[in-house]
């Protein structure tokens, strides 16, 4: 369900009018979209759906309660308001409650493309056809997902808060495998504009990786120079986001904590070439300019020239510590360089080229040690050339160590991390060193 600003405002105002609480904030988020999932070279499931969620936050003194409904008729809205008020009355006083926001100013963001919002089941099927044709023409098997969606979020508060954002998203990812199961390659793209998805080209990349990954050699575990494709970089960076929090850092429980409640802010924790930013208005990866409570999400430099510059800070924590309130980013941008992947390969005596990672989990939050595996295209580089495919490897490594050892950057590209939820990123391919692989996997 997509509502424009006026319609959304009407629904939210109805909520606020119904409210008898000391303060109230209402949030309405809706969407409509469709997908085609495919495997063994043909569609397996496909669908369209549409819906919305209305969340009412009611505040009574220092007590708060929330109620969410997906029914937007007058009676359901009234019931949601009453339910949230009832929960608030029953809640204990919250010493950390901050008052709802008044009017705010947001960055202008253009994240909507009408052709994506209007994409039909046939258009998605056509994209899948183009991708799978590339596989079939080479006697390979394709699996993947093509999806497109439109969504909006609106917030209104009794204290004057009003926020509205809408965005479209289209994505195509695919894995192409050899019929014997001895080769596998992946490619994917995501964009605001469905016409940006070059299904045939993605099919070519995945098919080529699948063919080149046949006959993979087992390599001994150990430390390797790695060239990480942007998708692999995004997979690792996604884990930084959840730890870049000022309060948890001050409490001594993030990798950025220092003894005595101090933090690594201002410390050089990555190589000088590493700069991480977020900017909701970034043309390549536009995102919401406000967070769930309606706080403006601005342009933030998180890491600059390897120095840790910013940690996200809630309104409560900012008030308590005198720091600036910084919501978590809604996108993530790593500044790229000019070195093409081919040039990184030529400059590498021995190393591994990584397409993407899989099943990454935190092993030790103290150092942000992660474990996970390579997947769908791992290649051995010797004397400046890709000489063969390599069997997949498990790693035990921290993205902080990876960033500390980066020495080459490619141009930044738009990607969405496999484990990063909806956060769009724009990140480059990178070369790093001493990447710690701990065992060989038989998976292809």
């Amino acid at each position: 369900l997509i509502l424009g600003p006026e319609e959304a405002r009407r629904t939210l105002d109805a909520c606020l009018r119904a409210s008898k609480a000391d303060a109230a904030v209402a949030r309405l988020a809706g969407g409509a979209g469709g997908h085609v999932r495919f495997a063994l070279g043909e569609p397996t499931t496909a669908g369209v759906s549409s819906g919305a969620r209305l969340t009412v936050l009611s505040i009574a003194g220092r007590r708060a309660g929330e109620y969410t409904t997906n029914q937007l008729d007058a009676a359901s809205i009234e019931a949601a308001v009453r339910s949230s008020e009832a929960l608030a009355r029953l809640a204990p006083e919250d010493p950390e409650l901050v008052p709802p926001l008044g009017p705010q100013a947001y960055l202008p963001v253009e994240a909507w493309a009408e052709p994506t919002a209007a994409a039909s089941p046939s258009l998605r099927a056509d994209l899948v056809a183009a991708f799978t044709r590339e596989a079939r023409s080479r006697r390979l098997t394709a699996a993947g997902l093509c999806e497109s969606s439109a969504a909006f979020t609106a917030l209104a508060g009794a204290a004057g808060l009003w926020a509205y954002h809408r965005e479209t998203r289209a994505g195509l990812t695919g894995t192409i495998r050899t019929p014997a199961g001895d080769g596998s390659g992946w490619a994917g793209a995501t964009s605001v504009r469905i016409e940006d998805l070059d299904a045939q080209q993605l099919g070519r990349v995945a098919a080529s990786k699948a063919e080149r990954s046949v006959g993979a050699k087992p390599l001994p575990p150990g430390r390797y120079t790695v060239i990480l494709d942007p998708a692999a970089v995004a997979d690792l960076l996604a884990f930084l986001l959840s730890f870049m929090d000022a309060r948890r850092t001050a409490e001594g429980r993030t990798p950025f904590s220092r003894p005595g409640g101090a933090s690594a802010l201002g410390e050089k924790i990555a190589a000088g070439v590493v700069t991480l930013r977020s900017d909701p208005a970034a043309a390549a990866a536009p995102s919401a300019p406000f967070d769930a409570e309606g706080s403006p999400v601005g342009r933030v430099t998180w890491m600059e020239g390897g120095l840790l510059r910013t940690l996200s800070t809630t309104r409560y924590w900012a008030g308590r510590t005198g720091a600036t309130h910084v919501p978590p980013p809604t996108n993530f941008l790593m500044t790229g360089g000019t070195t093409a992947t081919e040039s990184m390969i030529r400059a590498t005596t021995r190393g591994l080229l990584v397409t993407r990672f899989w099943y990454i989990r935190v092993v030790d939050p103290q150092t942000l040690l992660l474990t996970g595996l390579t997947r769908d295209g791992l290649f051995l580089i010797e004397k400046g050339e890709v000489v063969s495919a390599a069997r997949n490897l498990r790693f035990n490594e921290s993205p902080l160590q990876v960033l500390a050892r980066v020495d080459m950057l490619g141009p930044a590209m738009r990607v969405r991390a496999a484990g990063g939820g909806a956060v769009l990123m724009e990140v480059p391919a990178v070369r790093s060193h001493e990447f710690n692989f701990t065992s060989v996997s038989d998976a292809i």
């Binding site: 495997a39 043909e42 397996t44 369209v48 759906s49 929330e66 099927a125 997902l145 990798p255 030790d364």
Partner: protein, 488 residues
Amino acid sequence: MLDLASVALDAARARGATYADIRINRYRTQTLRAREHRVMQILDAESFGAGVRVLVEGAWGFAASSRVEKEEVGSLAERAIAVARANRPLKRTPVLLTPPAPVQDVWQTPITKDPFRVPLEPKLDLLLAICREALSVRGATFCEASMSFVREEKFFASTEGTVVEQVLVRSNPTFTVTSVNPETGMFQARRSLARPAGMGYESVEAHPWLEEANTAAEEAVRKHEAVPVEPGRRALVLHPSHLWLTIHESIGHPTELDRILGYEANFAGTSFVKPEDRGFLRYASEIVSVVGDRTQAGALATAGYDDEGVRCRRWDIIRDGVLVDFQTTREQAAALGMERSHGCSHADSWESVPFQRMPNVSLLPGRREITAEEVIEATEDGIYIVGDGSFSIDHQRYNFQFGGQTFWEIRGGRITRMLRDVAYQSNTLDFWRSCDLIGGEGTYEVGGTFTDGKGEPSQSNPVSHGCPMARFRGVNILNTAAGRGGRG
């Protein structure tokens, strides 16, 4: 409800669907979160909607909406048919289903205390009491406690004449204690060993929360002084609070037929298991038998019927170490020429497409009544792991690595000291074939998760795994801190 269903199913049939079903579901959830002395969140939510699935000339189509009205559900059938027709030209192998077995029935999770009828106050009091108790232990710095509840009212009807109404209830209480050493700057955490259940509030009341909060806090503090593990091959004794997750990843997922057939190749991955392995593959040692069971009392994937109206059941997956069957839906069972599905179709919402999800997959206890103490006593040199921790497995389910909550050294049949920085890596078949001791019924416990992820667009599935204590020979132990660089 039946009237609405008829509108959708008639519209689907009239427009050429050879099969159609409709699910009209209402999901009610409650989430309560506290930390230290403060309640952080009180959120109740409700979601209601309908999803229509159609089969047109062998191609699936699906459409869903939160507007559950006659006109809208009729339109859903049309939209689902449009989706199916758009994809029909790409379909080379028409979808076939196992023979229909129409049923009309109602089913409800047997509960004694509806969590949505329990007032907020005792729930919030309990969360704050857990935090208070944990923080009363010297050295415990932070405690976060939460509980969430789900009530699903599910209506299913198909063109084959099946009509099923169900009410499913689940409860998920937990907490984590963290200890920060201000001098060293190191922090350690211990999560509750309590597991979510397909039960009502009685499952919350049955757990000794305050006792565990105290123990957990003491163990979190004690971890600072624990001895770094010596890497190498050792016997592993795994408590059920840990082993459920290893079963989930290394037996549950590899025996899902959709993965085996390649449907999940782009996301969750395929499987090292092949269709022809059924009845032949020596998966584990002879003492290992594993069942798929959506009828297991108190378990999270337990229901009367799955999301295509197939009656839930129990069946063997591994019998005496040999792989004998898979997890199936009607489409997959038909693809392998099976007569019936094992009832593993599930969608996490009215707006999600049902597909094959994991039933409760449980390791049977040993035939002899071996106690937990006897398993320890029978172990000369090993490591005992309690609670689940970090977990990762490759996309064909060969190579895995698991951590835990607490690690204990076993020497000469006794637990001697606490260890830290422990993880084990192994290969699924090597690991399960090395299982040489299984505890009896008295050691059996049920673990599980509210949110097992799979599929694209990604869906979440609740699932339990029962298991006894078990021992595995010569497993590769890592010290995860070895070679650790400087901090952050």
